[in-house]
């Protein structure tokens, strides 16, 4: 059977990208003190999208001072019910502008419009809506009769879910009464800058939200700043450890959401078609740029061959290409640097003796692309079984007994997520008890919700985001 699809591009006319963007500090877009800037690139075309201001020490000082003043004079003293209404306003403005934001996200990040439109943006709005309701109910959250905010939160977020990670950081911080200085990733700053405009449309008091753009150095200046009371970071485990060291011995409260190498465990009684969909969603969703991606497939030996056949057949139907095409399943790799890392680790996989396979797949001439890939014959000692690749690359291992599945699944310094596929309820709960991971998806994968706490065990970080548990990160408890 042959499936041909005519192009179905989403129009980008709703998006108005300005040639250059300043820093959003104290309610105004301003130029950086030393006038430095960097470029944000469309990873699907390698075209420059805009010049982005790069915040230096002086700018970070100003942003932190603005956040401090807003915390002490306006946002801290404001009754929770008033903060709530601002957050509801923001949620509504995001819903109103969700198509514009989805398209902009796909242009700047490379993710398929189907995902930015149907996953990222609905979750972003839901996150603000959910946390809005907490702002005047914190006394009932289980943290004592009158839990207090921390003050100024320094937040650094990654490029894989730019606006969703912004929502995960800003919504709970504001609901709990903190003010924020947020640094988006240098390859994906654009939706955060539109969010700044949404704060203005919402008449959010100046200084409550400040956005400073830049790369690693800007992030370092922000998290090491003496004037911040809270540091929240989502990104690599390596940088997370650096931040933990820099926060050591200070008063700052720290939460980290870091890397993963999740096992997706498929037993011989699993509903195979659903499991195949779950495995595909687990590793190829968002090009595999997902910290909780199911990057290690653990298959029960009796069904390994059959599952792999079905998986390969399904992978052959994935459409890789234009992120703005509504039929696209796998978009562009976010940056040249990330593409290089995925290529390097895949070559290491081959060199170490695993067998590499990709479906026939035509990739566009320009832009950063990587075909969906799986490795079989993978040993636990292989780097592709141990290191986070953060790309559309799946390592397949097998197991014979449930105990062996648990041992292999837990044989990693990470502990963010895991998947289990079986029709046997008691086995699901038995596995869920033993998997050392913060999120366990049983007969599903990569589901997110603002009411559901998310975060890791071990070197995947600490603290939770979402739900009642997520509030603790932003309260002085």
């Amino acid at each position: 059977m042959n499936f041909d699809y005519a192009p179905a591009p989403e129009s980008a006319s709703i998006v108005d990208i300005r040639p250059s963007y300043g820093l959003f500090i104290d309610g105004e877009f301003t130029d950086p003190a030393d006038g430095r800037s960097f470029k944000s690139v469309n990873p699907a075309t390698e075209e420059v999208l805009a010049e982005i201001a790069e915040a230096g020490a002086e700018d970070v000082d100003r942003a932190v001072a603005a956040a401090r003043a807003a915390y002490e004079n306006v946002w801290g003293p404001m009754p929770g019910r008033e903060r709530a209404k601002y957050l509801y306003r923001i949620a509504r403005l995001i819903q109103e502008r969700s198509r514009e934001l989805a398209i902009l996200e796909s242009i700047d990040n490379g993710k398929p419009i189907r995902e930015s439109r149907d996953v990222d943006l609905p979750l972003v709005a839901a996150h603000f809506f959910y946390h809005a309701g907490w702002a005047d109910k914190l006394s009932y959250a289980g943290y004592g009769p009158d839990p207090r905010p921390l003050g100024v939160a320094a937040q650094v977020i990654p490029w894989n879910f730019p606006l969703l990670m912004l929502a995960w950081k800003i919504a709970p911080a504001l609901a709990c009464g903190n003010t924020v200085v947020l640094k988006p990733a240098e390859t994906t700053p654009l939706t955060a800058l539109v969010f700044a405009d949404i704060c203005r449309q919402a008449d959010l008091p100046k200084g409550v939200v400040n956005i400073v753009t830049g790369a690693g150095e800007t992030g370092r200046l922000l998290v090491e700043h003496d004037g911040v009371d809270k540091v929240a970071f989502t990104g690599s485990t390596e940088v997370g450890k650096q931040i933990a060291r820099s926060v050591a011995g200070t008063r700052k409260k720290l939460t980290l959401e870091l890397g993963g190498k999740a096992a997706n465990v498929v037993f011989d009684d699993a509903p195979l078609d659903q499991a195949v969909e779950g495995v595909v969603n687990g590793i190829f969703f968002n090009q595999g740029h997902v910290c909780c991606a199911g990057s290690r497939l653990l298959v029960h030996e009796p069904i390994a061959e059959e599952l792999l056949d079905r998986l390969k057949a399904r992978m052959a139907t994935l459409r890789v290409g234009d992120p703005l095409d509504k039929n696209t399943d796998v978009g562009a790799i976010n940056s040249a640097a990330q593409l290089e890392k995925i290529r390097m680790l895949s070559q290491v996989g081959e060199r170490e003796g695993a067998q590499r396979w990709s479906p026939p797949c035509e990739l566009p001439d320009r832009g950063y692309w990587f075909a969906p890939t799986l490795f079989t014959g993978v040993a636990q000692s292989h780097r592709i079984a141990r290191e986070e690749i953060f790309g559309p690359v799946l390592s397949v291992l097998t197991f014979r007994t449930p105990d062996e599945a648990v041992a292999k699944a837990n044989n990693t310094p990470y502990g963010l997520s895991a998947g289990v596929w079986t029709e046997k309820g008691s086995r699901i709960l038995w596995m869920a008890e033993r998997l050392r991971a913060g999120v366990v998806w049983a007969n599903t994968y990569n589901k997110f919700d603002p009411t559901s706490p998310f975060g890791g065990y071990k070197e995947s970080g600490f603290g939770r985001e979402g739900g009642r548990h997520g509030l603790e990160a932003y309260l002085n408890v």
Binding site: A126, G142, T237, G240, K241, A244, R245, V247, A248, G249, T250, L256, L258, P413, I428, A432, A437, G438, V439, V440, W441, A442, N443, T444, K447, D449, T451, S452, P453, F454, G455, Y457, K458, E459, G461, F462, R464, G467, R468, H469, V477
Partner: protein, 314 residues
């Protein structure tokens, strides 16, 4: 002999410092002729009482300078052995039902109560007045009972069913973090039980560095734990130089969390920095008043939240 007598109390001893119990503390004359049998204070690792592999000891003196005992001076190797024992015990202990853990902790409280007089004696040797020592032991037993009762309530208080926007059943449960390194405060009994009980009641196992100047009650607590059905390795207690042992705990890659309760301010930074090597959860010193209401903070500091999703359908 009113202070040390009673069930579980130290046997009556001779008259002078030579003959006393804890470092020859003078007690009532009962038998002029009998020389007391002193205790050798050792480490507690994996349910056994070894000396330090280094062969080192250090003298423990009363505040006024009187010799009490030679305590083991644990080494880096002892830290590693203790972490190994704690890791080995983790699966079994965390796999017990909360009810069972609660019963074992309550049993510990029973054994503590039985050694009431001995602890009073040791606390007096460490410098507390008679009434203060008795009150301290009372509070320590009550504190342990309080934490024992949390075993089968944490799941309800710290867990949740989450109303996600879709056809999924979604619930969060608290789980123990793993192996916890505990640098105990100098409050030699009440402070000690106030940091150990909340760590283990949820299913963690631990390696405890006892108070450096007053380690003797910690070793006696180990004897209580060893006779309370607590599996070996759940609590391991080291005595020695805090500044020597704490950095090895902080940098050990098989330790998941640290309680820095007994660490002086200037050492918190370097220990936190070492702990970042494998992203240990760190509870900073809180300047805790060990006599007051403890809240749930020391319990929740060493818990992970696990969230499980499953589709709903027919």
């Amino acid at each position: 002999m009113s202070e040390a007598g009673g069930v579980g109390g130290r046997p009556p001893t001779g008259s002078m410092s030579e003959a006393g119990g804890v470092g020859g503390r003078p007690t009532e004359k009962m038998s002029e002729q009998r020389l007391a049998v002193r205790k050798t204070y050792k480490l507690f690792i994996g349910g056994a009482f070894p000396r330090s592999e280094s062969g080192r000891t250090y003298p423990v003196n009363a505040p006024e300078g009187r010799f009490l005992a030679n305590a083991s001076q644990a080494s880096r190797k002892d830290v590693r052995d203790a972490v190994g024992a704690a890791r080995k015990a983790f699966g079994g202990w965390s796999g017990r039902t909360p009810y069972n853990r609660g019963q074992i902790l309550y049993r510990v409280a029973e054994m503590l109560e039985g050694r009431h007089a001995q602890f009073v004696d040791e606390l007096r040797a460490a410098g507390l007045g008679g009434n203060a020592a008795a009150r301290e032991v009372d509070a320590a037993v009550d504190r342990w009972v309080w934490y024992a009762g949390w075993a089968d309530k944490l799941g309800a208080v710290a867990g949740s069913a989450n109303p996600v926007a879709g056809p999924y059943f979604n619930f969060s449960t608290p789980e123990p973090t793993g192996v916890v390194g505990v640098v105990a405060p100098d409050s030699p009994l009440l402070g000690l039980v106030s940091v150990v009980a909340p760590v283990i009641v949820s299913g963690n196992t631990c390696v405890v560095v006892a108070s450096e100047p007053a380690p003797l009650p910690a070793v006696t607590l180990a004897e209580v734990l060893a006779t309370s059905d607590l599996p070996g390795g759940v609590v391991n207690i080291l005595t020695g130089r805090r500044a020597e042992l704490a950095p090895w705990l902080a940098s050990h890659l098989d330790v998941n969390a640290l309680d820095l309760a007994g660490v002086p301010d200037e050492q918190v930074g370097p220990l936190e920095e070492a702990a970042a090597g494998n992203l240990k959860r760190v509870l900073r010193p809180t300047g805790d008043d060990w006599t007051g209401d403890q809240g749930t903070r020391r319990l929740t500091a060493f818990l992970e939240t696990k969230t499980v999703w499953h589709p709903v359908g027919v």
